[in-house]
Amino acid sequence: MVSTTPGPVPVSQPPAGATSGAPAELPPASGAGKGMFGVQGTGDTSGFGGLVRRETEVASSTRPYGGWFDDVYDSLQEAFPALDDAIEHVVVDRDELTLHIVPEKILDVCRVMRDDEALRFELCSSVSAVDYLGTDPRRLHVAYHLTSMTYRRRVRLEVAVTAEEPYVPSVTSVYPTADWQERETYDMFGVVFTGHPNLTRILMPDDWEGYPQRKDYPLGGVPVEYKGAEIPPPDRRRSYQ
């Protein structure tokens, strides 16, 4: 289960650049229109006011989820009786349904999602990942966006693994289109998709070290001279939160 308290950061201390994009404080609970500038505490906007990454947590939604979300969940439960063991959270947010799946079960769930007549998610639109460094002990979240052409629905499946044991079963046997997308996710995040026919780097050179899209991987860059002044690379510039 996703912990609500931040676990120990499983890597060496992130370089300075990696955290510069983080907001300084928790934003106000209100929505747009109020407190968008997030001025709290001293209101210091110098960019040196102590950068802290905010904690987030996955909050489950409660039934009814609304619209066809309930239909999808019920159909999945019917076609996949062991669903309660395979599902961690159900999140409905911004009219999108996200099912947080136990990593070991993702292949089985995908097969049911594709084959069951009431689900029919024929197309795997996208496979990618997000690195929740510092907010979730299982920091690497792989997101699968499935599309049902029959019912014109979209669903997001999400699995979370740690950086130490980043193993997720490959879904290429169900969705061959996931081949390159899993390779890209491996390339960028270091998620190892077990059972993938050819899990090699795809965008970065074969001998590249590190996983560039991880949050503890610095952006890099060189200082640029502009009109006599030296401008540091983007991740080292003074930043306003």
């Binding site: 907001p23 934003p27 929505g31 990454r53 947010d93 999108e96 997001r156 390159w180 983007p234």
Partner: protein, 438 residues
């Protein structure tokens, strides 16, 4: 030294021939396998639409195996986005698929607006301009496809014509946005600049001109024996193959499934426009050619409806905490701050200056969460997976680039065919490597 052992039998003396090079002796007489070679096509091959490397194993002229190598144009746009404000994101995503910049910007902007919860606040004029620009961009992209594919299959004049008419669209873009490509025009909350009246006139001229030109292209190509032979029955991919490999867009529609997100999962009010989704059934290069030409005609229909709907109004959301504060104006060197606005904030209103400064340097905050927004790009489903942690910068942006996904289909289309058809098949997918590698 003995070459073979001998033993006596009732038939006479029998030699048993063994040795390491026996296979090569036998293989030497095989005319087919003798020609098995591995060819590196690209990465700088003119027909690879950028830098795509194909490793082909050939037997004679038949491709037995095809492997693709991509990544030569990887520029880390998704990583860079995490270090810029939400508004600055537009200038990055526009550079991914450089033939469809408006689509990248729109997908990104729609996703950010969904995260902000301001989808319903987008003004009608903004949405109409977005649709107008997208459809112009779709035609421009298809014209480049037609031109380059013509070039690759031997119709060099088609390349000249295609780029000539595309230039017309780029001039329209320049009139509206100040830039021909990579405009950063569609932004979260609206568009950067209103459409000037002279651009409307130019679009009307274009609407009158293009149908005639499309007819010319068809006169040039459709009856051409070489064009027919090089496209019909070539690089087949049926609906099953398309879905398994995730191929969407004109390629999927050419196989017989009229799946177009503008119709099936409408966005930007596409459900209120009247247009058809062209499809074909043969699933070959020829069908993709027909579908794309027909799509250009449908786009013209949509543009015409856009012009009729273009009523005066704001092109940015009313919320001043999100709307870009600068009033932009076209100068001689492109789009920039209007001097009037600068004079006002510098000379008259301290609050406006502070507001301007905060919004430009810090940017606005986007409530935490994640969304996936898909639109129908010229090459298929263009999806933006945008994650916010509540800050002023994107936490993660991933683009589902149709070029990247569709390229996986090249081995399925090329293996077992002739090497010349690899070019036709690859071109028919219309891959743009800037989008593929991001």
């Amino acid at each position: 030294m003995t070459y073979a052992t001998a033993r006596e039998t009732s038939e006479g003396k029998v030699f048993t021939v063994t040795g390491g090079d026996w296979d090569t002796v036998v293989g030497g007489t095989d005319p087919l396998h003798d020609e098995r070679i591995v060819v590196n096509m690209g990465p700088q091959h003119p027909s690879t639409h950028g830098v795509l490397r194909l490793i082909l194993e050939l037997e004679g002229e038949t491709v037995t195996e095809c492997r693709l190598v991509v990544g030569y144009l990887h520029t880390g746009i998704e990583k860079n986005l995490e270090y810029r404000t939400w508004i600055q994101g537009s200038t990055f995503v526009t550079r991914m698929d450089y033939l469809a910049p408006i689509f990248n910007e729109t997908a990104y902007s729609l996703a950010v607006e969904k995260l902000l919860g301001i989808t319903d606040d987008i003004t009608p004029r903004t949405t109409t301009i977005r649709v107008l620009m997208m459809e112009l961009n779709r035609i421009a992209s298809h014209l480049v496809w037609l031109g380059t594919t013509g070039l690759e299959l031997g119709a060099i004049s088609m390349m000249l014509y295609g780029f000539r008419e595309r230039e017309y669209i780029l001039e329209i873009f320049e009139m509206i946005t100040g830039l021909r490509m990579n405009m950063g025009y569609v932004r979260p909350g609206g568009v950067a600049q209103d459409v000037p009246p002279e651009a409307i006139r130019k679009i009307r001229e274009f609407l009158a001109m293009l149908p005639r030109k499309l007819k010319e292209y068809e006169d040039l190509l459709s009856g051409q024996p070489i064009w027919i032979q090089r496209t019909q029955g070539v690089a087949l991919l049926d609906v099953t193959g398309c879905l398994a490999l995730g191929v969407t867009g004109p390629v999927l529609r050419s196989a017989g499934l009229p799946w177009d997100l503008r119709k099936t999962q409408p966005y930007c009010g596409y459900e209120t426009y009247e247009f058809d989704v062209p499809s074909a059934t043969t699933g070959d290069v020829w069908a993709r050619y027909e579908v794309r030409v027909a799509e250009m005609r449908e786009s013209l229909k949509i543009i015409e409806q856009c012009l009729d709907r273009l009523k005066p109004g704001p092109v940015m959301v009313a919320d001043k905490k999100i709307a870009w504060p600068a009033q932009l104006a076209l100068g001689v060197d492109g789009l920039g701050n209007s001097l009037e606005h600068v004079a006002k904030i510098m000379g008259q209103s301290m609050e406006a200056l502070i507001h301007h400064f905060k919004l430009v340097t810090e940017g606005f905050r986007v409530p935490a969460g994640q969304v996936y927004q898909a639109i129908e790009g010229p090459r298929g489903e263009l999806g933006a997976h945008v994650v916010s942690d509540g800050g002023t910068r994107p936490y993660r942006v991933h683009f589902r680039e149709p070029s990247f996904i569709n390229l996986q289909a090249i081995p399925a289309m090329a293996e077992g065919g002739l090497i010349a058809d690899v070019i036709a098949g690859g071109a028919s997918l219309d891959p743009v490597m800037g989008g593929c590698d991001r």
